[in-house]
Symmetry: C2
């Protein structure tokens, strides 16, 4: 089995959305990434730090999913990273009400022993300096490095972030971040500019509309699964990244068709995440449910036009 | 060949977008609908009115495309309907600066002689009373009636509009209009509610993101062709409707697969329209260019996941 190493936050989130209030719930990029990736045939390990206030049983449950948490630091001095946010009716927009960095401010990443040469590396949302430190600490280069970042780092540490972007294969950003990073408005133009700076693949997330992958091999458009209820978009991007990488690890191929399939898998995993607050829905997700939804998704996106129209 | 009867406006549009200023250009829903539908194997006729100021050569050019303009009224007293608008960087949003109804205020629809029993009827954006008058004036019911309407009629003549919606097969609206019409936020919910009021198909337009078709047979998601340049979104919805109906008329089938193909055709025709101001790009469009773009579109949306993942 291929190895996926994940770096990201372990945190508490507290959100209010048009559908209600979540309360203080376990979250963080490493949590969503690992839960999603562990749905696939792959070995998953985590680099992260939790505060002394983080529920032990929550992390212990990761072991039952085969997730390696041996290198996760549990701080005995600091609380966990905490984020409080507010989503509006258009869930593509959110406001941060409170951020407390806590344990994350003192974080020095440790690589799990079994993951010093991972096949896949997912750099979840973290300080670019920490991301670089992880890249330098590995033995050799992973076959595929995926980066999820956000506007905060583009604004505060653009030079360091650029160094990280030079070293990765897949960049995952939303439309606004793609614009901020490149100064180009249209996703097509922003992606073309990013593809010249290192990554071979750029995936632009469009929230409830889906996502689009750009590369020199082509463009692939994956609409989002149309949901009856989107209760809480938190973690959608990380769930996408985990499902995307999980699929590639399971099939161990980077052909263009497999990259497309990975986008579809990531998109469908994320569609579960947003159906309930925090990790609630993702924790209940299994292969059977995912397979059923992907089946529906295929029906909703396939059309036989090519056979008659294109000759 | 099947007959498509189109009712809509013949107008002057004047827009400013982030890409420039159009000047005063021929436009109107009937113009975009007819130009798009005439790309397909079908007979196309128009119900509309133009003012005395509308350029004759523009309408005459429709005859060369085989479009029946024999019932188009040319007012000798009034000017053409005129709309002036402003689009913002996010082209999904626009402001109306000036509307002058002019000739349209005095319009009594006339049915072209050869189109008293059309196979397809497209009711473009017009007063619902005029749309009802057209429906009542036809011999028998067309096999498929498509309605494009807008928030203005939902707010000013909701009862009359409801009567029209009861009589149609396909409703074409954007997300905001779907919400306004139903009071439901999620497209899935809005569509479900609309499907109980008459139409068998609801197509929700999502601008640069694409469109989604709902029916009791399923849901179909068609992302928009990712364009480098969107200069002017005016007429995109009508171009979609014309291409959609044109495809159905050409293949003369209403099976779910053909409905999906029609959405793809409509979406791709509209992708040309928005690449230049007014009807400029649409006027130059031909089957070869459309076929090439649909070919690209198929590559950008097809993925082979079903073969291995779903068993």
């Amino acid at each position: 089995m291929k190895k996926i190493l994940i770096a990201g936050t372990i945190a508490f989130d507290e959100v209010t959305t048009p559908f209600g209030y979540s309360g203080k719930m376990p979250g963080g990029s490493a949590v969503y990434l690992a839960l999603s990736a562990s749905l696939f045939e792959a070995r998953v390990g985590i680099i992260s730090v939790a505060g002394y206030d983080f529920p032990r049983h929550f992390l212990e449950s990761f072991k039952r999913r085969g997730i390696d948490i041996s290198a996760v630091e549990i701080s005995d001095r600091y609380k966990s990273f905490y984020w409080k946010g507010l989503y509006y009716e258009n869930m593509n927009r959110r406001d941060t009400l409170v951020t407390r960095v806590n344990a994350l401010a003192h974080f020095r990443p440790r690589i799990p022993e079994a993951f010093t040469s991972p096949d896949f590396l997912i750099l979840g949302n973290l300080h670019p300096a920490v991301q670089l430190e992880i890249l330098n600490a590995l033995n050799g280069r992973p076959r595929l490095i995926l980066l999820d970042t956000m506007n905060y780092w583009m604004e505060t540490t653009p030079e360091l972030l650029r160094k990280v972007i030079q070293k990765i294969d897949v960049l995952l950003v939303n439309e606004e971040e793609a614009r901020l990073l490149t100064g180009r408005y249209a996703p097509v133009h922003a992606a073309a500019k990013i593809l010249k700076t290192g990554p071979r693949y750029v995936i632009i997330k469009q929230g409830e509309y889906g996502s689009v992958m750009f590369s020199n091999e082509g463009v692939f458009y994956a609409p989002a699964y149309p949901l009856e209820t989107v209760k809480d978009p938190t973690g959608a991007g990380d769930s996408f990244a985990g499902g995307f990488t999980g699929h590639l690890a399971e099939y161990d191929s980077f052909g263009w068709n497999e990259m497309k399939n990975a986008v579809v898998c990531g998109s469908n995993v994320a569609s579960f995440t947003v159906e309930d607050f925090g990790t609630r829905s993702l924790e209940k997700l299994n292969r059977k449910l995912l397979r059923e939804r992907v089946g529906e998704y295929v029906k909703m996106t396939a059309f036989p036009l090519q056979k008659k129209f294109i000759s």
